[in-house]
């Protein structure tokens, strides 16, 4: 397994390059190839769970001379999410993407996005992280504008401008760290920072990183692109963007930089907590008034990322555990919600909640899975969202942040209100005259929805079975900076 670690990037890249050589008539074959590649990747990740952490030296160059790949439990967790959501979105898009042209290029861009995200997650070198971040985000710019309609191009351009600014800020941060310590390896940087203490250049670089990755992860002062970009993309891409891209490129990168490279300090703690609370509150307040189904979901993404950020910023073991658990749950239920909105759009041709109603009679599979996801996101037991929110709230109370805990409960209540609205207007009520003839979505799409719904239910209930091997180890990895340095440099710091 250890030897095959770079294949997490090489397989999707190879598939993406290869399938462009096929003519349009072989689209079915391309679909089979892409699905097989994703299944292989998923099997590889599952083989990696519970594996001892290791580092991989590309080209046999020891760090800090060459580029190092690092496998520890948090990168495994992210890889698992990327590949589960990726595989299911891919299966869903076989049927859904029928309404667009150039399907082969779509699959190629999709695989390139997966490759970019995997590259971000597995790397141990900060400049390499930037390069793969660019692959993931540039392919997502193209995928957001895939339909080539007015709104989609506009959203794509907006996303692109803000995305490029954030990339430049990140690159500037990398330059400043390089100027101060003369190395690019993250563990080596961490070692130097531990030795020299945090000085003003490091603080400035950290500010740049938080701004840059915050832009990628749509934290509130920097969130302007997300409500446009995520709804404009095709539904499987919305699921990928909201489900994993903002986590892999935003939250994960912040965790790595803040915990492993620079080290958690009081100022960072305050900044991350306030970013989290702001995102939580502003996101949900903007979401309540929305009538566009996908836009409402996009605002909820901001709000739910706020929960994760609060947990990360809290920096207590329980808070981090809750944050990682919520990150995983959000990947499942938000992807499911976006896929449901895509299914509704596929059948009814509208995203406006006011034009829907009574869909349960015509589309039972979609409606029931949508209900399950709504219950999860609003934190109703026994679905997964409840447990992770509970963990975060308990952690807040333990750390004596009573006000923030109250805000968190309030935000959860508002989420519930806005999803009751969704249920009330889309699933229940009377079927409008226009939608009398709609049909349930095709079997493959329905299966994907059901799988996601089962995942939402099980990841809450079966926590005792996987919590130890997947999440609690990840929490220990996040906290233990020394272990990370030792893992990569293989010296006792």
């Amino acid at each position: 397994m250890q030897q095959l670690y770079p294949l997490f990037v090489a397989i999707p890249l190879g598939v993406a390059f290869l399938i462009l050589l096929f003519p349009k008539s072989l689209t079915k074959l391309v679909e089979v190839i892409v699905a097989i590649a994703e299944i292989i990747l998923l099997i590889m990740v599952i083989a990696l769970i519970g594996h001892e952490p290791f580092s991989y030296f590309i080209g046999k160059w020891i760090p800090p001379i060459g580029i190092t790949l690092v496998s520890d439990s948090i990168s495994t967790l992210l890889l698992l999410l990327i590949n589960i959501v990726g595989l299911l979105s891919l299966l869903y898009s076989f049927k859904y993407m029928e309404m667009y042209t150039s399907k082969i290029r779509f699959y190629s861009l999709f695989m390139l996005m997966v490759a970019g995200m995997s590259g971000v997650v597995i790397t141990g070198d900060i400049f390499n992280l930037f390069v793969f971040l660019e692959i993931a985000t540039i392919s997502s710019y193209a995928l957001v504008g895939f339909g080539c309609e007015h709104e989609e191009l506009e959203a794509s351009f907006k996303y692109m401008i803000l995305g490029s600014v954030s990339s430049t800020l990140i690159l500037l941060g990398i330059a400043i760290l390089y100027a101060t310590f003369g190395t690019l390896n993250m563990a080596d940087l961490a070692n130097s920072i531990l030795a020299n203490g945090i000085n003003r250049s490091v603080l400035f670089a950290e500010g740049l990183f938080i701004m840059g990755f915050g832009l990628k992860g749509a934290m509130v002062p920097f969130h302007a692109w997300l409500p446009d970009a995520h709804p404009s993309a095709p539904a499987p891409i919305s699921a990928m963007l909201s489900g994993v891209l903002i986590k892999a490129c935003g939250i994960y990168a912040i965790i790595r930089v803040v915990y492993h490279v620079i080290g958690m300090t009081n100022i960072t703690h305050i900044i991350l907590m306030s970013l989290g609370v702001l995102s939580m509150v502003v996101g949900v307040l903007l979401a309540v008034g929305q009538w566009d189904f996908k836009r409402l979901l996009a605002y909820h993404s901001i709000s739910q990322m706020g929960y994760v950020m609060v947990g990360i910023g809290l920096a207590t073991p329980l808070g981090i555990l809750g944050a990682l658990f919520h990150l995983m749950n959000h990947a499942f239920f938000k992807s499911l919600l976006f896929l449901c909105s895509g299914a509704v759009e596929y059948s009814t041709g509208t995203r406006n909640l006011k034009e829907m109603g009574g869909l349960f009679k015509r589309m039972p599979v979609t409606s029931s899975s949508c209900s399950i996801a709504s219950l999860s996101i609003s934190g109703i037991p026994p679905f997964n969202g409840f447990w992770s929110k509970l963990l975060i709230i308990i952690a807040l109370v333990q750390a004596e942040y009573y006000a923030i805990a109250a805000v968190t409960v309030g935000v959860s209540f508002l989420t519930l209100v806005s999803f009751i609205k969704v249920q009330r207007y889309s699933i229940f009520g009377d079927l409008p005259e226009k939608l009398k003839n709609i049909k349930e979505v095709p079997v493959l799409m329905g299966t994907v929805l059901v799988i996601f719904a089962v995942l939402c239910l099980l990841s809450g209930l079966l926590y005792p079975f996987f919590g130890n091997t997947l999440l609690e180890i990840a929490r220990d990895t996040v906290i233990d900076q020394q272990k990370y340095i030792q893992l990569v440099l293989q010296v006792v710091p």
């Binding site: 540039i138 907006k158 401008i161 990339s167 390089y178």
Partner: protein, 116 residues
């Protein structure tokens, strides 16, 4: 120190252009200026007074070369970064042309179907 600040001034001018200008091409120009500034900054931090390029030629004394040469690593990074900015420029120009075809304008205040 002064030269870093001048380089940084270039950077903030790019930021200013991005925030204050409402024209798509001007925004693309802003991104281009940002990229120039960051690339220049990376090369500036790797410069050594009286340094020579990090290219060995036959017959050169390897000892003096490794003492005199400027830092090669930022140059490698900048090479990557130049290519990335070319890629971003290509994408941006293509989206801007497509937007012009759809809206018949480059002005972002008129390109605003998305609200909220």
């Amino acid at each position: 120190m002064t030269i870093y600040l001048m380089c940084f001034f270039l950077f903030v001018m790019g930021l200013y252009c991005l925030i204050a200008k409402k024209h798509l091409i001007k925004k693309i120009i802003g991104i281009a200026i940002l990229d120039y500034a960051v690339n220049l900054f990376l090369i500036l931090i790797g410069y050594k007074s009286g340094g020579i390029p990090p290219v060995l030629f036959e017959g050169m004394n390897k000892q003096t070369f490794s003492q005199q040469s400027v830092d090669p690593l930022p140059q490698a990074l900048v090479l990557t970064s130049i290519v990335i900015s070319l890629g971003v420029l290509i994408m941006m120009v293509s989206i801007a042309l497509r937007l012009y075809e759809k809206y018949k304008t480059f002005d972002t205040s008129e390109i605003s179907r998305l609200r909220g």
